[in-house]
Amino acid sequence: MSQIKSNKKLKWSLDFNSKSRSQTAEIPSPPGYSQSANANYTESSKDSDSQLLLIKKLWDVALAPLKQVPMNMFIMYMAGNSISLFPIMMVGMLIIRPTKALFSTQSTFQMVEGTQAVGQKFVYMIGNVVNILLALYKFQSMGLLPTHSSDWLAFEEPLTRMEHIGGGLSML
């Protein structure tokens, strides 16, 4: 449990550690003891090119959205243009995920305190924006975007009548 928690916080270090100490992981750690955090700290401090690794990890994070693009395109293709529950759920996820990611850019890059990862952030944002655009394109092709006059038809007020009529066949 604790391991996973730390993983979330510093993902890159988890990978790194788990692989290096696969045999020690068999023994359960005492509660409250966070092996990884400790190890990570010592490792990174020890490593001379930690800076490079950090940058690399940052790039990993930054490029993740772009890497998703082909997969998203495939999902979009698979979802089809019909409007039913599952395609809607899929397409909804397509747009919600990058939007969420965009808003949490700051927290995603928080792990690098002090480092000004402007380039990475920019690429990350671009990637998410590309995803959003893709999703919007999908919405458009599914006809979910209210861009046509027919989409606003229901809100158009009907004409009121000026003249009123009465009458019929002669009653004589």
């Binding site: 007020e157 004409l159 003249e163 009458g167 019929g168 066949l169 002669s170 004589l172």
Partner: protein, 887 residues
Amino acid sequence: MCIYEDQIGKFDWRQTYVGRIKFAQFDTVSTAKKIIVATEENVLAALNLKTGQVMWRHVFESASSGDIQLLHFSDGDKVTTVTGSNPYLVRGWDPTTGVLLWEWPISIIDTERAHLSEWWVQNGMLVHLLPAFGSHLEVTMYNLMTGSNRGATSKLPTVWTNDGCILTPPYYTCISGNMGNYMLLSLDVTSNAVQIISKPLSNYFSEGEVIEGNLRPLDGKTSQPGFIIDDKAILLIKNNEFEPLNVRLADQSASATFIDAISGPMLVQAWSDENKGLSITAYNIATNTEITDMQMSGPKINIPEAELLGVLCINTAREQPAYRILLNGADDAVHLLQQGGRVVWSREESLANIVAAEFVDLPVSETDAALESEFDQKEAIKVYSSVWAAFVRRLHTQYQQLHTLIQNLQGEGAVLDTPSPLVRDYFNLHKIIVLITDVGKIYGMDNLSGEILWQRYDGNLNTESVVMFTRRSARHPPHDAYVTIIGKHEETGNGYVISLNPIRGTLVGERVLRLDVRLLQVALLHTVDAEKLHALILLDEDETVQVLPVSAAPLVRDLYMYVADRETGRMQGYALKYDGRQVIAQRTWSLNLGGAGARIVTIAGKSRTERVHSAGKPLADRSVLYKYSNPNLLLVVLERPDPTHKDVVTAVAVDAACGAVVAASTHRRARALPLAVHSDNCLAYLYRSDKHRRLEIATMELYEGNERWLPAGTQFSSFGCARAPSVERQAYIVPASLTALAFTSTEKAITDTHLLMGLSTGMLMELPWAYVDPRRPMTLSGEPREEGLIPYAPELPLPAEASLNYNRTVQRVRAIYAAPSGLESTSLVLATGLDLFYTRVAPSKTFDLLKDDFDYHLISIVLAALIVATYSTKYFASRKMLKQAWK
């Protein structure tokens, strides 16, 4: 569109009628006692003697070929009818099952006199009498079952006959001679020896009495030949002799008949008086005594112009004769009375002839009314000076609601039996149908049960071109609902206006108003006066205008009226305006639609309550095809003979405010049917194609195009723009014959509109407009498919599933009335004809209502299971977490 088998009778009801009864005979021989009746509506039926319900019924042709000339019930087991009007048909029926036994035709060679024919059955022979006034009588006898002619026609020379003669089988009786010197002559036409009975008429009147010499036969099936002279004296013919009775006719209008009671022949008389009500007397001829136990009179039962249809005398077990008297009123209602004046049953046969119907909303209940008045803005300002007062009021109403709720809960068991009060239900499905019948009787009917809540007969009302307006609905609590019926006076033809409260049937407002002019047309003012009442605009014969009430005259503006003459096809439009003193009608347009010799078959306008929800149709490319929905549009269908194309049908869409023709089309070699409907931008009318000998429906849709002509929310004026809409047209084959056509209507017009059709077979069909959409494409590919259009097929599908009334057929459907309910999905439908059928339809399925087979148990079980599962998994998850943490 279709219903489930378990929904039979859940939302619908049917009432079966036979029409005004012409002949009635009691059948007491069969095990199930019944009355065999033949009616003015050309219906032969058997009514249950105990309940009055129809046991079996045969509907003949509605034209003169179905006229019933004779109904004879021979004591054996046969019912004989003679129907038609040269050629005639003689048919025999089994009285118990109603199955046809035999039929054979008779043709009278003398076509000009054929309508004078008299028929009766004597000794198993059908006797046909054809008088030639002033010359002779032709008597022919036929074998009843086979029609073989026993002996040829015998001609009896009778120079003394005239058109005032009557037949009292087998005697043919006349009054002949000059004023003051009348002779009463009678002849048994079936006897071999010609024996004329002849007596001076003055023999039967006291000295000094003025004798006019009018003969009237006795009513019903009399047991003895007899007649009434001058509405006074009653004579019998016995043993070839006249036999005057000691009693005279009790009242001028009295209806009299002879019956064979156990104690001897008996004369029964019945008459009604406006004040005293119905009176019945019986007189034993043999003993010359009044039979007291049959006498009755009193204002309890009011049958206008009562007429005896028949009297039945039954022997009960206690050796006391029981009588059943069948009476017919001028209001077409038929009543079966017991001695003592108790009504066994009544049938409102005028309902077989409905000319107008209107659905009227019920008032809200008192608590709801209080609530509504609270939220009424104007009222609120008047009553509450402060927020505090409003708050107190709010609390008070809340308390009231709670109180009634508790009361309802407490008294639930007790109140079940009492009928539900006439208040609006939550979905406004409960309404009152106001029906006007041909004879001038007005009914208020509960739409859910079909029960008659009130009735009102007015013999002065001529319903030939009657119109009915709901001038105030029940939505304005302090004021009652208000319905006005405008017809003609029976005698003078002047305007005749009846205003009543549709909920109770009482007269209100103008009550009964006799105008002293003939009316050209009537309109309802669109604005309301201070009492929330729509004023009535009456356009007179001489084009002057009356406003009812007069105080509403200044409200008249932007009102236009049109008058169409059915026979000449000419239409005229008037602009109505208040000039400071009175309302004047200015003739603004006049058209001659259809050309010379054309006659208007029907005019279809929009319903007054119609609303348009959507301004256009979204197309496949997501642009909008804007509708041309001109609220002043009329569809006029005309027909005229054409020298080269036989008959030509012309359909014209006219703007009734400015008189402009919007669209027009013609059909050659076709005959129009008086069936046309018009709603929103959709127009449809029916015609019979003579060339292909089939029924076709032509549909039109009017569109503005891809751009709006006027910005949304602005005012549409007929005088504003002169642009012509684009017209989409198509025609379809109807593989049935229709007698009624209507559109469904819903409150906000969001739901699809369907066509409701009444078929000659008695079925009511519901057809989605999509099937007659003029934009149905021939080949389905690309855009039309996406738009949901159906590929073109010339023949309309009429599957049995689309039937509204399943096997409860409605004979001779005349009209279909549809009204919106409070539920947007649901439209209330009443079909009138010989029968009445009511149901409700949901053109786009009941999207705003749970299905009536909704499985409440399943959903609650699933919900409960889900909740249990949620909590249990939560518990187990936490346990597992704890375990993991300890690992």
